[in-house]
C-alpha cells in the first residue's frame, strides 16, 4: 500500500511538473504570437510611483504609441509634460526646457530604459532568457510574469519587473517595476487599441 501511494505521488508530481512547463510554454507562445500580430498599439496610461522612504505616491498620466518593430512614443501630460520618442536607434527627449536627440547606442541608461519599455509593453521580454529569469503565474483572467534581471547593469536599476497580461488578448495591461530600494512604479495601460493607423509624425525625432 505504502509503495503504491509513493508511486502514485511520484507519478502525480511528474504530471503536474510537465503540465506547468507546458502551460508556461503555451503562454510564452501566445504572447509571442500576439506581439508579432500587433503592428501598432496606442493607449492611455496611469503611472503611480510609490516612494518607500516618504510613504508617498505620485501619479502621472499620459499616452503611449507603439509601432512595430522599434517605434515608441511615451508622453506624460499630467502633472508634468515630458515626451520620450524611440525611433530605431534614436531617442528624442522633450521637456519644458529643451529637446534632445540621443543615440541609444551611446547612452547605456537610455538603451536599457528603451529596451525595457519596448519589450515590456509588447510583452516579448518573456522570451529574453539572457536578460531575465522569468516565472509565470495564472490568476483569474490574468497571466502574471515576474522577471528578475540577470545582467549586472539591469540589476543596478531593478529588483524585478512584473507584467500583467490580459489572458484573452495576450496583451500587457499593467507593468510593475520594483527597484532595489523597494520603491515601486506601477503603470496601468488603459483604452488599449491595436492595429490602427498611427500618424508617422508621432514618432518623429526631429
Amino acid at each position: 500500500m505504502k509503495r503504491y501511494l509513493l508511486l502514485l505521488w511520484t507519478f502525480m508530481s511528474i504530471v503536474s511538473i510537465s503540465a506547468q512547463t507546458l502551460n508556461d510554454a503555451q503562454i510564452r507562445q501566445r504572447v509571442n504570437q500576439a506581439a508579432a500580430a500587433m503592428k501598432t498599439m496606442q493607449c492611455d496610461f496611469v503611472q503611480t510611483k510609490h516612494l518607500k522612504m516618504l510613504n508617498d505616491d505620485i501619479v502621472a498620466h499620459g499616452k503611449m504609441y507603439y509601432q512595430q518593430s522599434s517605434k515608441l512614443r511615451w508622453e506624460y501630460t499630467i502633472p508634468y509634460a515630458y515626451v520620450f520618442v524611440l525611433n530605431g536607434d534614436k531617442v528624442l527627449l522633450k521637456n519644458k526646457q529643451r529637446n534632445d536627440v540621443i543615440d541609444v547606442n551611446q547612452n547605456k541608461m537610455f538603451r536599457e530604459i528603451a529596451r525595457v519599455m519596448m519589450s515590456s509593453v509588447v510583452g516579448n521580454c518573456l522570451l529574453d532568457d539572457k536578460t531575465f529569469k522569468t516565472t509565470i503565474a495564472t490568476t483569474n483572467g490574468e497571466w502574471i510574469a515576474t522577471l528578475v534581471p540577470q545582467r549586472k547593469d539591469m540589476r543596478q536599476m531593478f529588483q524585478k519587473i512584473v507584467l500583467h497580461f490580459n489572458q484573452q488578448r495576450a496583451v500587457v495591461n499593467c507593468v510593475e517595476m520594483v527597484e532595489k530600494s523597494g520603491d515601486k512604479t506601477v503603470i496601468n495601460l488603459k483604452n488599449i487599441r491595436t492595429n490602427e493607423t498611427i500618424n508617422a509624425a508621432i514618432f518623429s525625432v526631429h
Binding site: 505620485i58 502633472p79 508634468y80 521637456n95 519644458k96 530604459i113
Partner: protein, 137 residues
C-alpha cells in the same frame, strides 16, 4: 445666481493656488517640484518630492519614468544634507560630496521661495519648479 457661482469658483481657485506649498516648513507638509539639473556634460530631469517629517525634510528625486536617482534628508537647523541612497551610476564619492553641498544650498533657496540655484564653480544649475498639488493626486 451666475455671479454667485463665479464668486465661489474664484474663491476655490484662490484657495487651491494658496494651498500649493513651495517649501514644507511645517510638520506634515509636502511639496512637489519638476526638477531640472543641468551640467556641462548634459542634464537630468524628473520630479522631486519633499516631506516635513518632525522638522526634518525628507526628499526624493526620480526621473519621469519613476526610477529613483536619490533619497536624502535635510536638517533645517543644522543646514545639513544626509544622502541615504544614490543611483549606482552616480554613486561616486566626489559626486556625493558635490550633491550634499548643492542640495543644502538648494533647500535654503527653496525656503526663501527661490526655485533655482547655480553652482558657479562646477557649472551646475538646479531649477525646481513647483508642481500643483491638486493635479498630482
Amino acid at each position: 445666481m451666475l455671479r454667485y457661482f463665479l464668486c465661489i469658483n474664484l474663491l476655490m481657485y484662490v484657495i487651491t493656488a494658496h494651498a500649493q506649498v513651495t517649501f514644507p516648513s511645517n510638520e506634515g507638509e509636502r511639496a512637489r517640484y519638476s526638477a531640472y539639473i543641468e551640467m556641462s556634460r548634459g542634464y537630468v530631469s524628473g520630479v522631486c518630492i519633499l516631506v516635513n517629517d518632525e522638522g526634518i525634510i525628507k526628499g526624493c528625486i526620480f526621473n519621469e519614468f519613476g526610477i529613483t536617482a536619490l533619497d536624502f534628508s535635510y536638517d533645517p537647523r543644522r543646514q545639513k544634507i544626509h544622502l541615504y541612497s544614490v543611483i549606482t551610476m552616480m554613486d561616486k564619492w566626489y559626486i556625493r560630496r558635490v550633491l550634499k553641498k548643492d542640495l543644502a544650498q538648494l533647500m535654503r533657496c527653496l525656503q526663501r521661495s527661490e526655485t533655482s540655484y547655480q553652482n558657479v564653480r562646477r557649472n551646475i544649475s538646479y531649477l525646481f519648479t513647483p508642481i500643483a498639488d491638486e493635479v498630482t493626486q
